[in-house]
């Protein structure tokens, strides 16, 4: 397979800040390759170096070491060439209180060398798709936080760049606006636009990005598709729920077991039959770890979808009739936790509720509430 040349290449890109209290190594020599038309997510907790990376790639911050090429233009030697190819939405906003929405968006397009008529056409076409119609002539101070954020986004997109850097574009947006923006970004991809987006919202990274670069302490600690990352870290979790009444009297009192002794509690007492279930699952498939929680057995396997049938057969053979069987991908939070030792959700405040496939980490971190009789 011959891949097209990457549209963004960075080699050993680094940035150190000198502060009163000492040196801060914000980005420590990262390598990045982005292909045309990819949506790349920079995922990481506060202070990971996402903004610093994006600001270097957009020519706003001079790297202290390393090189990068964007759309064929060298970051150091041809910053103007780089700028003419990119769009950028800053994390901290980009509007002044007094500027008028439409006027400012047109100005931004024109600074990219776009003629008056086309700038106006682009701007007016963009406003409805970002739900900003009707606000054209308002000063930005009269907008709500989310509306103002969407103006930032319009300012970054109005000149129709082929490479777009979005630094936490959805912070402060309500779920509806967020979904709209995701839709917009996906549409851009179908037009061949390359998007680099930083976020610490896992659902966003999961739903939107083709590939994730997980950053922590200024380095890239993992690189892969959301699915790859999730699989690599934890595998899938198959949960077998046993009908306790049906099993009554037939079993012993087993304690839960785990192959990852260090990471899961061993003390739980479980429902009769769970031990047999664990044995059956182990016979049927390659089990990475097991966690027992009352009448539920969580089995971590490489490929959940391929494990279901063998496990069912083995259970059947052992005379166990599960009342429910579910397969779940581990969430990106599990991935994140295992990579960085920190949960992203701590910094998410209340944003992360109800995300799709939102199973909390089981074998890794789970401390299921196991009560003693």
């Amino acid at each position: 397979m011959n891949q097209p040349a990457p549209v963004i290449t960075a080699r050993r890109l680094a940035r150190t800040f000198q502060t009163r209290t000492g040196r801060v190594e914000a980005v420590r020599g990262i390598d990045v390759d982005v292909q045309t038309g990819e949506i790349i997510g920079l995922l990481g907790p506060n202070g990971a170096g996402k903004t610093t990376t994006v600001r270097m790639l957009t020519t706003l911050l001079a790297p202290t070491a390393g090189d990068a090429t964007i759309a064929g233009h060298d970051l150091r030697h041809d910053p103007r060439g780089v700028r003419s190819r990119i769009g950028y939405v800053a994390q901290g906003g980009s509007t002044s209180d007094e500027s008028l929405v439409l006027e400012e968006i047109i100005l931004q397009a024109r600074l990219f060398g776009i003629g008056k008529a086309r700038a106006k056409a682009n701007a007016t076409a963009l406003l409805p798709s970002l739900d900003l119609d009707g606000l054209e002539h308002r000063p930005c101070r009269q907008l709500s936080g989310g509306q103002r954020r969407r103006v930032d986004i319009a300012l970054g997109l109005v000149h129709q760049p082929h490479i777009i850097f979005l630094d936490e574009p959805t912070s402060g947006l309500d779920p509806q606006s967020r979904a709209n923006l995701w839709e917009h970004i996906r549409k851009l991809r179908t037009d061949g636009v390359t998007v680099v987006l930083s976020t610490h919202y896992l659902d966003e990274a999961d739903a939107l990005c083709d590939r994730l670069l997980v950053m922590d302490h200024g380095t890239i600690v993992a690189d892969g598709t959301p699915d790859e990352l999730k699989r690599r870290i934890s595998g899938d979790i198959v949960t077998v729920e046993i009908d306790t009444t049906a099993m009554a009297g037939s079993g012993d009192t087993a304690s839960s077991r785990s192959d990852r002794a260090a990471s899961s509690p061993e003390s739980a007492r479980s429902t009769p039959g769970t031990d047999a279930t664990v044995r059956a699952a182990r016979q049927a498939v390659d089990v990475r770890s097991v966690l027992v929680e009352r009448n539920r057995v969580h089995v971590t396997v490489e490929h959940g979808d391929q494990a279901v049938v063998p496990i069912l057969r083995a259970l059947d053979g052992a005379g166990i009739a599960p009342s429910a069987l579910t397969v779940k991908r581990p969430s990106l939070d599990d991935v994140f936790l295992s990579l960085t030792g920190r949960s992203l959700r701590d910094s998410d405040e209340n944003r992360d509720r109800g995300r799709a496939g939102g199973m909390t980490s089981e074998p890794e971190t789970g401390t299921p509430a196991v009560s003693h009789p």
Binding site: L60, R83, Y88, S94, E103
Partner: protein, 253 residues
């Protein structure tokens, strides 16, 4: 040329913002206007000491015009601090627009506003106090006002990029503008000063501008003052304009 086009874009954008919200421009005009109205009349009775026998208003009015030029432009950087904080500058820096244009568009706007304020001030002086400046001298004065505006606005923007805070700006500006004002002879001519003070005032480029403007207001064009003042002002504008553009190019906003 790209740069001129981009300068115009920034210029118009800022001028429109200024017209939408003219309060600042009016406030900046108030100070010299108050001096003109509440301080100027005192000079009429000073007699020869103040204006060497000529009309004191012909001496005082050009001073007030330069006062606008000094304060109006020296405080321009405050607006830039706000723009830096709100991310506007960064947003413009990520465009391929010339860094010089981003500065010059703003400076050109300040220049325009200054000239408009100067016209208003001179108009009031003519109407209310019967000042009769030389028409050509008045036009030349406006040109020098524009140059002073370029100099101080550029310096002020450079300062804003360096300090990035209103507090840092305010302390530096206060410690600079007051000595500049006192050592320029804007309020009272330096001919009243003792030798050492007058010598000190010669270091201040503005003192030469003031002399030139006063001479031109009184139709004395073929004097050394006019030549020196014009050249000094021009050089001042070029040097500080250069400092400003260098800072704008270098600073990673």
């Amino acid at each position: 040329m790209h740069m001129i086009h981009e300068t115009r874009l920034i210029f118009w954008s800022h001028l429109r913002a200024n017209l939408r919200n003219p309060a600042w421009a009016v406030i900046m005009l108030m100070q010299p206007l108050l001096y003109l109205v509440l301080f100027g009349p005192l000079l009429e009775n000073l007699g020869g000491a103040y204006a060497d026998g000529s009309d004191p208003w012909l001496v005082f009015t050009p001073g007030m015009v330069l006062m606008i030029a000094l304060f109006g432009s020296a405080f321009a950087g405050f607006g830039l601090v706000a723009e830096l904080r709100s991310g506007v500058v960064e947003r413009q820096r990520v465009t391929p627009a010339s860094r010089n244009a981003l500065l010059l568009g703003r400076v050109a706007k300040d220049m325009t506003v200054l000239v408009a304020q100067a016209v208003v001030l001179i108009g009031i002086a003519i109407a209310a106090f019967g000042v009769r400046p030389d028409p050509l001298g008045m036009v030349a004065t406006l040109a020098l006002v524009a140059l002073v505006g370029v100099a101080f606005a550029s310096a002020s923007y450079a300062l804003a990029l360096k300090t990035r805070s209103e507090d840092g700006m305010a302390s530096t500006l206060n410690s600079l503008t007051v000595p500049l004002l006192l050592l320029s002879g804007i309020l009272l001519p330096m001919t009243l000063a003792p030798g050492w003070l007058e010598a000190l005032s010669r270091i201040n480029p503005l003192s030469h501008t003031v002399d030139a403007v006063r001479a031109m207001f009184a139709s004395r064009f073929d004097t050394a003052e006019v030549v020196t003042g014009t050249l000094v002002t021009l050089a001042f504008a070029v040097v500080l304009g250069y400092v400003g553009t260098r800072t704008f190019q270098r600073e990673n906003a």
